[in-house]
């Protein structure tokens, strides 16, 4: 089993996109190093205790003709020894732990940090960039090498924000604003999901944090701050009509259009996202059609109703939503 564990930690993060053992930020690395330290202490204690136990198991089993053994009431020195030894190990664990707490559990000291508001909702994530005027859902872009300062709120029940390769968890508590920060150190797409049970679709409340080169981030930020452009293609324009004429607008906003619903994810730049329905499906036209046709099958329990749409309407909507880049 230990061998299996070593195998896992040797594998690259790509095979385990949600692994806590493949950190890619200062905060996650700090925790991982602390975990490694505790882990090896635990392995040491494990080997000693189980080793002695197996020795006793074999060595002192009763053999025929054995007399009753000598009765021993106790041994003061031994008791002191096996009280002190664990205590010392715990001190060795406690010191780095407490140091790490006072780094991780505090607000970031970095004044240049990028502030992102995270609002947990059943069962998706809203990301707001107050300094950049961006509202998006389920996928946050951040630049590599710059501290990200998350402000976490909940719109309904308890959730927990967790991108294992970037940071430990922080709960989203109704009525309270929590903070979490990390400085990503390599470009990539990082998987995460809600880690506090929040109801029916808790398992499908996924998200991505995309760490970009600073230039790419700038480009993304400029594009996403802008309102949606009017689609050029005829089919997409027809899709826009379907969108505006149906229940879609009562929940979804597309900035630059009359659609201003606040209940569901902002779709202004939906076409540029990697996934649909908070990480459930890859964002392809076929998957989008499937999602529009049977939301309750793809993500049971989610609040989006299954609107009656013809195949043609779905095709047009897919074209429209895909054009929102």
């Amino acid at each position: 089993m230990l061998f299996l564990g070593v195998l896992v930690s040797q594998g690259c993060g790509g095979e385990y996109p949600q692994s806590t053992l493949h950190p890619s930020s200062d905060s996650a690395t700090l925790i991982d190093q602390l975990f490694d330290q505790i882990f090896w202490w635990a392995v040491g204690v494990f080997v000693v205790v189980e080793g002695i136990l197996i020795y006793v198991f074999v060595r002192f089993r009763e053999r025929p003709g054995d007399a009753r053994p000598k009765q021993v009431h106790g041994h003061l020195l031994l008791e002191v020894g096996w009280t002190l030894a664990p205590a010392l190990i715990l001190v060795a664990i406690a010191i780095p732990s407490i140091r790490a707490i006072f780094i991780i559990d505090r607000s970031t000291p970095d004044p240049e940090a990028l502030v992102v508001e995270v609002i947990g909702k059943q069962w998706w994530w809203e990301f707001r960039y107050p300094e950049l005027g961006i509202v998006t859902a389920n996928e946050a872009h951040v630049p590599v090498g710059r501290t990200v300062d998350l402000r976490l709120r909940s719109a309904d029940v308890m959730h927990s924000f967790w991108i294992p390769r970037l940071a430990g968890k922080r709960d989203l508590v109704p009525g309270i604003e929590n903070q979490l920060w990390f400085r990503p150190d390599s470009v990539g797409v990082y998987h995460g999901q809600c880690a506090e049970f929040c109801g029916t679709a808790h398992a499908l409340m996924g998200m991505r944090v995309i760490v970009d080169e600073p230039d790419d981030f700038e480009r993304w930020a400029r594009a996403n701050a802008a309102p949606a452009s009017t689609p050029a293609a005829a089919e997409a324009r027809a899709g826009q009509g379907v969108f505006m004429a149906n229940a879609c607008v009562s929940c979804h906003a597309v900035r630059g259009t009359p659609a201003a619903g606040q209940f569901g994810p902002d779709l202004t730049h939906f076409g540029s996202r990697l996934t649909i329905a908070s990480g459930v499906l890859e964002n392809t036209p076929a998957n989008l059609a499937r999602w529009l046709d049977s939301t309750q099958h793809v993500k049971p329990g989610n609040p989006m109703p299954e609107v009656e749409l013809s195949d043609a309407q779905i095709r047009q909507l897919v074209a429209y939503l895909g054009s929102l880049r």
Binding site: L21, I31, A203
Partner: protein, 612 residues
């Protein structure tokens, strides 16, 4: 399992019994049935998670199943099985004829039973609670959990909690007041010691939880705002109330198991317990520290660095007394003559696997490390090692140890060993891989997981392990069946053990002790073996013999009367509980029945005529 010695055996005798041994058997049978039910729920959970993106269970049913699995295991399997052992063993170990309040004892059982039946009434009605055994607000308020599911959870735990508190009080008083002459605290067997500590824990831990449940009930039914952030309250309050109970609850479940192995290991090593006072006080210390660590369930809530540092440190401290116990058990075996009967295998199995659970516990005592581990399968692995490797193995250990005493029959050793090895293998195959699935990013309470996260292999292994677990119950049930039909007679003391319960016939007579023994040492039945030089000063040979002059007649035996009123009282409370779902009339009627039961109970004579 005939227990006919001096008993009437009709159904009425069971409904009115106040005999601790019969109540123990009822607790055990009901707790065991709930263990099997919750086990099936766990097996279904594992079937759903065998491969990624399966649709064997829909998400709502899955959420209901893990809620019922956890709630049942803790409150309706773990606790009653623990209390079954308290009931059977404690009066016998301290030289008493019953508990301090025999009718209260019967009442505790009936409300526990009704609580469990009430909870499971939600199954045929298809409204099982689905908020997890921890029922976090605000998910469990009516806005997010409409329908009666959560009410079943709240009301079932309220009524069974009454029984738990009454039981805790009963055993606390029993152990303080009913000990035989000479049975000083430091002569009590370790199991009785842990029962004493756990009784105090129950008395202190259940009230905050009860308060929380009442708040929740009021929020749900009467529109109060105890946990409503929109009204200015803090939903985190529920987490505090839950975990200030929930963490001591862990020790309520584990310390009795520690007590059992502390009696079993010496018996099958033929050596007295190494470091008796240290083992006792480490138990006291665990219980004491257990009230100061609840925030380690809440490190990710964001309570700030100082709070997290303090509770992290306090949590680490618990590893010290726990380690002391493990070392003392090993030292007891060291130099002994180990007889590996089934009970001993479970005891050693506990030491081996609890150690793993303890070490993973130290890993998340460190708050920063816990931020990655909390609410993942790493924690699921941890507490199943603790609750199966610790509590369940400890309870099975006690089951194989005291079964001959309770029934007068010997279980089959080969089948017992098959049971042990299957469950030992199953535990490790099921739960060890969960350490990896957790560290690789699998959160708890998720009905499915995506392909491509690298979690597939670990989950499949876990599911295979769960099947082995189910299989492990076959030799156990077969063993019970076989022993029922043709078990060998057990005799007074089949294991050559050292404590008072082994002085009487198996099964024990109705009155336990024809004469109350006087105790002048620890391990009284071993006094011929404990060499003179190792004997404590002032310790005269003697053991456990009644204290009277040879020509003096034995004191008369006075036993408590059977009574219907505990059952009536419990039925009244059940009616109130059902009324809590929305019928004021039924609640008032239940109140009336409760009041009648209470008065009749109060004016009924508790003790019968002399019977010998």
């Amino acid at each position: 399992m005939a227990m006919t010695d001096g008993y009437s055996t009709g159904i009425r005798s069971w409904l009115t019994t106040v005999d601790h041994k019969r109540i123990a058997i009822m607790y055990f049978v009901v707790g065991f049935v709930f263990l099997l039910i919750a086990g099936v729920e766990g097996q279904l959970i594992r079937l759903q998670l065998a491969t990624p993106e399966r649709s064997f269970l829909d998400p709502d049913l899955y959420n209901q199943l893990f809620t019922m699995h956890g709630t049942t295991m803790v409150f309706f399997a773990g606790m009653p099985l623990v209390v079954a052992f308290f009931n059977f063993v404690v009066p016998l170990q301290i030289g008493a004829r019953d508990v301090a309040f025999p009718r209260l004892n019967a009442f505790s059982f009936w409300v526990f039973l009704f609580g469990g039946l009430f909870l499971y009434a939600s199954v045929p009605l298809r409204v099982m609670p689905d908020g997890g055994w921890f029922a976090y607000m605000p998910l469990t308020n009516p806005e997010y959990s409409p329908g009666p599911g959560i009410d079943f959870y709240v009301l079932a735990l309220l009524i069974s909690g009454v029984g738990s508190i009454a039981g805790g009080l009963n055993f606390l008083v029993t152990i303080l007041n009913m000990r035989a002459p000479g049975m000083t605290f430091m002569r009590m067997p370790l199991f009785t010691w842990m029962a004493l500590i756990v009784s105090a824990l129950i008395l202190l831990a259940f009230p905050p939880f009860t308060v929380g449940l009442i708040f929740m009930l009021f929020d749900r039914r009467f529109g109060t705002h105890f946990f409503d952030a929109a009204a200015g309250a803090d939903p985190v309050l529920w987490q505090h109330l839950f975990w200030v109970f929930g963490h001591p609850e862990v020790y309520i479940l584990i310390l009795p198991a520690f007590g059992i192995v502390s009696d079993v290991i010496p018996t099958f090593s033929r050596k007295i317990l190494f470091g008796y006072p240290v083992v006792v006080f480490s138990g006291v210390l665990i219980a004491f520290l257990g009230f100061g660590v609840w925030v380690h369930h809440m490190f990710s809530v964001g309570l700030g660095p100082v709070v997290n540092a303090v509770f992290g440190g306090a949590t680490m401290l618990i590893a010290i007394p726990t380690g002391i116990k493990i070392f003392n058990w090993i030292a007891t075996m060291w130099g002994g003559r180990l007889r590996f009967r089934t009970a001993m295998l479970f005891a050693v199995g506990l030491v081996a696997t609890f150690t793993i659970g303890g070490l993973s516990g130290v890993m998340h005592s460190s708050p920063p490390a816990d931020l990655q581990q909390t609410d993942t399968y790493f924690v699921v692995a941890h507490f199943h090692y603790v609750l199966i490797g610790g509590t369940v193995f400890g309870l099975f250990c006690g089951f194989y140890y005291w079964f001959p005493k309770a029934t007068g029959r010997m279980l089959h050793e080969g089948l017992g060993k098959a049971h042990f090895w299957l469950s030992f293998i199953a535990l490790n195959v099921t739960f060890f891989p969960m350490h990896f699935s957790g560290l690789l990013g699998m959160p708890r309470r998720t009905y499915t997981y995506a392909e491509g996260l690298g979690l597939d292999v670990f989950n499949l292994i876990s599911t295979v392990g769960a099947f082995i677990f189910t299989l492990s119950f076959v030799p156990l049930v077969w063993n019970l069946w076989r022993t029922w039909r043709r078990g060998e007679a057990a005799g007074h003391n089949p294991w050559d053990a050292s404590t008072l319960e082994w002085t009487m016939a198996s099964p024990p007579p109705h009155y336990n002790f024809a004469e109350i023994p006087a105790v002048d040492r620890r391990d009284p039945l071993w006094h011929p073996y404990i060499e003179p030089e190792s004997r404590a000063e002032g310790d005269e040979p003697g053991g456990a013999v009644p204290r009277r002059q040879p020509d003096e007649p034995p004191a008369p035996v006075v036993m408590p009367n059977p009574s219907y009123w505990p059952l009536v009282l419990a039925v009244g409370m059940l009616l109130m509980t059902i009324g809590g779902l929305g019928s004021l009339g039924l609640t008032l009627f239940g109140l009336l029945v409760t009041a009648v039961g209470l008065f009749a109970w109060a004016f009924e004579p508790a003790f019968g005529e002399e019977a010998h």
